[in-house]
């Protein structure tokens, strides 16, 4: 049948991405251990000691995750005070989370790391409540 309505068609890549991200999540979940989290806490940037292959793989996934709702470090006062925020997409104000402030970027970045793990359902606290969807 000829194609007459573009609304009938969608990008099937989404089907693959659902499968891929579920599979990737299973792989990543096995990598996220207390030791890996401690490794990140000790050196979030990997400038002192190169990150392990496991942490590198997890970090690439965290950076490459879709934008909307993604936790990030908000610079409230440069080099003095940081907070956590969540991106909302172009044209929409990010949400700055009330509560804890961080007195160093290093601490804030580790908090972002933990928040993104939780957001993607990869936390180690047993509360893997959110899906990781592209």
């Amino acid at each position: 049948m000829p194609l007459s309505d573009p609304r009938r068609y969608r990008d099937k890549t989404a089907d693959w991405m659902r499968w891929f991200t579920a599979e990737r999540k299973r792989r990543l979940a096995a990598l996220v251990t207390p030791a890996l989290i401690a490794e990140h806490a000790a050196d979030p940037r990997g400038g002192d000691t190169p990150h392990s292959a496991a942490l590198q793989e997890v970090l690439i996934a965290l950076r490459s995750a879709p934008t909307v709702d993604k936790p990030f470090a908000y610079i409230e006062i440069p080099y003095r005070r940081y907070r956590l925020g969540r991106m909302q997409g172009r044209g929409r104000a990010p949400v700055i989370l009330p509560g804890k402030a961080y007195d160093s970027e290093r601490a804030a970045i580790h908090a972002v790391f933990l928040a993104r793990l939780e957001w993607l359902g990869l936390g180690t606290d047993g509360k893997r409540q959110r899906g990781y969807s592209a």
Binding site: D5, P6, G46, L62, F72, I75, P78, M87, G91, P94
Partner: protein
């Protein structure tokens, strides 16, 4: 979040003493703000560095001003003045155009002579993906809507015919897909053509508005709702209704035997030097020429592009399209808030207009050159204003691949968030995509550029470009070196004669965007005894055109290879403003290695390292350069930019790309991370290990070679280099090596040849 409160821009980046600079300001809330002139030395807030340094300069702008929120017209469109209302479509008339919509779903005007507030005139629009034609005389309106939706990025021939005598109105859309012009090709069994016809029940009232393509007039004023995303080609209006045979002929590019009211040919005016014009030519005979607003992409493949010719200059008849974007912005066009009269004795340097209101401060940088035709020092710092433009208001926050490139979890400040939320009013950089997915190819100085501020830290997690370049200004100032400031805009205009006034010319950290005229200038200068210091990396990379009539604009088309934020579509790599091929200079036979010995090889944005010395470092002919540096010392394993002098982006030698055979390889950086990657143009077969832990090409090289007539080139090949100059109170081996070279280069008399 703390809104930024006020922001401004100046009309151009460079000014000589005695000249003037117009400043434009918009405040979120009305009220008084203050203004002053400051000289900038350093801006980086990093507590490990020297900190911000600036000095207030007395000038004519000192004082208070009344500010308010300024309107910014966003979105590209064409307007045609129609004072005799020839296009008001009274009686029978018809219109035809070719249409290629990228986001057909939301409401957007295609072509109109329409007063939206009152509903007067006529309007062809898209709504819910369907074409609609509207005729209105206030409350009495008629709307005829297509039954089928358009497929995106698919060329259609669209006709509207109004037969006043038979009281009929018809709307058609016919796909005109070939193998190359649309997203999909002829194998797709498309059945989206349509024809609707209805009894004519209204006639258009004449509104005091222009004809608008890619939008419609919001009201009587000059504001236009310009939300169309996509291409238009060959729009035309006829005095008379169409027969069905006419509709079929128009879809084949033929003209019916009807008098034309107007016929706009977007390719008219193409020359060998491109089409650097806002003019839209009416070839219909009535002289109803139009004017582009906010720079629709020009020299774009049209409905009939068949892929055999890639250069619009050679085949203008297939490049009749303009590509409009709802978020394009050429010039904020705010009124002048005040004009700075640059004092005649003001030393060349980096300055800013500082405006302040209610605790909010904005600093609007600009560059004061020496008096025209003169030099006031033996050393010049070349400010890369073309590259500042290319990066102006980058939106990496929204760019998932961008976040992956960084190698860090990013931190963002209020300016990043402001750019994210209100991006339309700030315009995009050449790193961004328009809302319809097309890369942004034009960038303008005439808008607030929030990421070109002295204390801004890039989303990459380090200072980048302008604030990073102040590290160099700070070091030169701290050591008491007399220097002039010149800009890319000066170099493009004046050429080698500008550089020839100096014994030595020093680049800033990232002169990535270059015009051919600027490359010519460097080559001539260095070949005739000039001395160049390339304290940078990823320089001289993207072909960049300056608009020949609007020097505040540049054009860049990315594609084929390189660190590409986007890729020009097939057939669209050539610049509209100059007609020259875009992409990398490397692919046009002008790799950076030919001028500087090194060229872009890798980026490592989260960790910087130091350099290990190579055997040439002990060549007695350059002992003067290495004086004070221990033979076994690592050079630059410290610094404000990610902890080292070698990082962010890096260059290396490559003899096949033109590194001079007599180049001395003094040092190479080592120890880069797994996030440091070989750049795309260095990758042929993709394979594992193209990173800083395994690939020997992921490095920065320090090189030196001499040129004719006592000239020389010194390249450090790293964007992070200048961030190490201030380490340990400016007493370190990066500062020492740089100082040794600068002092020797600045001295009169030829350098000893090293061949």
């Amino acid at each position: 979040m703390n809104p930024i409160g006020l922001r401004g821009y100046c009309d151009r980046p460079n000014v000589a003493p005695g000249g003037t600079l117009d400043v434009h300001v918009s405040c979120d809330n009305p009220g008084r703000y203050s203004a002053r002139l400051v000289r900038l030395v350093n801006g980086d807030l990093n507590p490990a560095g020297p900190g911000p340094r600036q000095r207030t300069i007395k000038s004519n702008i000192d004082g208070h001003y009344t500010g308010r929120k300024q309107y910014t017209q966003v979105g590209s469109y064409v307007e045609v003045a129609d004072p005799k209302a020839l296009l008001a479509a009274r009686g029978s008339f018809a219109l035809h155009l070719f249409l290629w919509a990228t986001t057909p779903a939301p409401r957007q005007g295609i072509i109109s002579r329409w007063h939206d507030q009152d509903g007067r005139g006529w309007l062809l629009e898209l709504e819910d993906g369907k074409l609609c034609f509207v005729i209105g005389a206030g409350k009495k309106r008629q709307r005829i809507s297509a039954r089928l939706r358009l497929f995106p990025e698919t060329w259609y021939s669209v006709t509207v015919s109004v037969d006043a005598s038979r009281k009929r109105v018809a709307l058609t859309h016919t796909a005109v897909v070939n193998s190359t012009n649309s997203r999909c090709g002829p194998v797709v069994p498309l059945a989206s053509d349509g024809r609707v016809e209805a009894r004519l029940t209204a006639s258009p009232a004449v509104a005091d508005v222009p004809l608008v393509m890619a939008g419609f007039a919001s009201g009587e004023g000059t504001q236009v709702q310009a939300d169309f995303n996509g291409k238009l080609d060959a729009p035309k209006l006829f005095a008379g209704a169409l027969a069905s045979a006419d509709e079929a002929a128009l879809a084949q590019g033929l003209l019916p035997a009807l008098p034309r009211l107007a016929h706009w040919d977007f390719s008219a005016g193409i020359t060998r030097d491109g089409i650097a014009s806002d003019d839209v030519i009416d070839i219909g005979g009535h002289g109803l020429h139009g004017r582009c607003v906010n720079l629709p992409d020009r020299a774009m493949t049209g409905w009939n592009w068949d892929g055999r010719e890639e250069h619009f200059v050679h085949c203008p008849e297939q490049y009749g399209a303009l590509w409009f974007h709802a978020d394009a912005l050429e010039d904020c066009r705010w009124p002048v808030a005040f004009t700075l009269e640059v004092p005649k004795r003001l030393p060349s340097g980096v300055y800013a207009v500082e405006i302040e209101k209610g605790g909010h401060i904005d600093q609007i940088p600009f560059f004061v050159t020496p008096p025209r035709g003169t030099a006031t020092a033996k050393v010049a710092v070349l400010i890369p204003t073309f590259s500042y433009l290319a990066y102006a208001n980058t939106q990496v926050l929204q760019n998932v691949p961008g976040q992956a490139v960084m190698g860090i979890l990013t931190s963002l400040d209020d300016r990043d968030l402001e750019l994210n939320v209100n991006w339309r009013e700030y315009g995009l950089s050449t790193y961004d995509l328009h809302s319809d997915g097309r890369g942004c190819q034009y960038s303008s100085w005439r808008r607030p550029i929030l990421n070109m501020r002295p204390n801004y830290r890039h989303e990459f997690g380090a200072v980048w470009q302008f604030p990073a370049d102040l590290h160099l200004i700070d070091w030169l100032t701290a050591r008491g070196t007399a220097f002039d400031v010149i800009t890319d805009h000066d170099l493009h205009a004046e050429g080698a004669a500008l550089l020839a006034r100096y014994n030595a010319v020093v680049t800033c950290s990232h002169p990535e965007y270059y015009s051919g005229a600027m490359l010519d200038a460097w080559e001539q200068y260095l070949a005739q005894g000039g001395r160049g210091m390339y304290l940078a990396a990823n320089g001289f990379y993207w072909v960049t055109s300056q608009h020949p009539h609007k020097p505040w604009l540049i054009e860049v088309r990315k594609g084929e290879s390189g660190d590409q934020a986007w890729r020009a579509r097939p057939g669209e790599l050539f610049h509209s403003t100059t007609g020259e091929r875009g992409g990398l200079w490397r692919h046009r036979g002008r790799a950076p290695q030919k001028i500087w010995g090194t060229g872009y090889t890798a980026h490592g944005l989260e960790i910087s390292t130091g350099y290990v010395q190579m055997p040439d470092a002990r060549d007695p002919r350059i002992a003067w350069m290495m004086k004070g540096i221990a033979p076994d010392a690592v050079i630059g394993d410290f610094g404000l930019v990610n902890g080292g002098a070698a990082g962010l982006e890096m260059d290396r030698i490559d003899y096949a790309l033109g590194t001079p055979p007599h180049t001395l390889l003094i040092a190479c950086s080592h120890g880069h991370s797994a996030n440091a990657m070989l750049v795309p143009e260095e990758q042929y077969f993709a394979h594992p290990g193209m990173d800083g832990t395994q690939d020997p090409s992921v490095r920065a090289d320090i090189v030196y070679f001499t040129t004719a007539q006592g000239g020389a080139v010194f390249s450090t090949s790293s964007m992070a280099w200048c961030g190490s100059l201030a380490h340990n109170g400016y007493d370190n081996n990066v500062a020492r090596l740089t100082g040794n070279v600068l002092d020797r280069f600045a001295r009169n008399g030829p350098l000893d040849e090293v061949c």
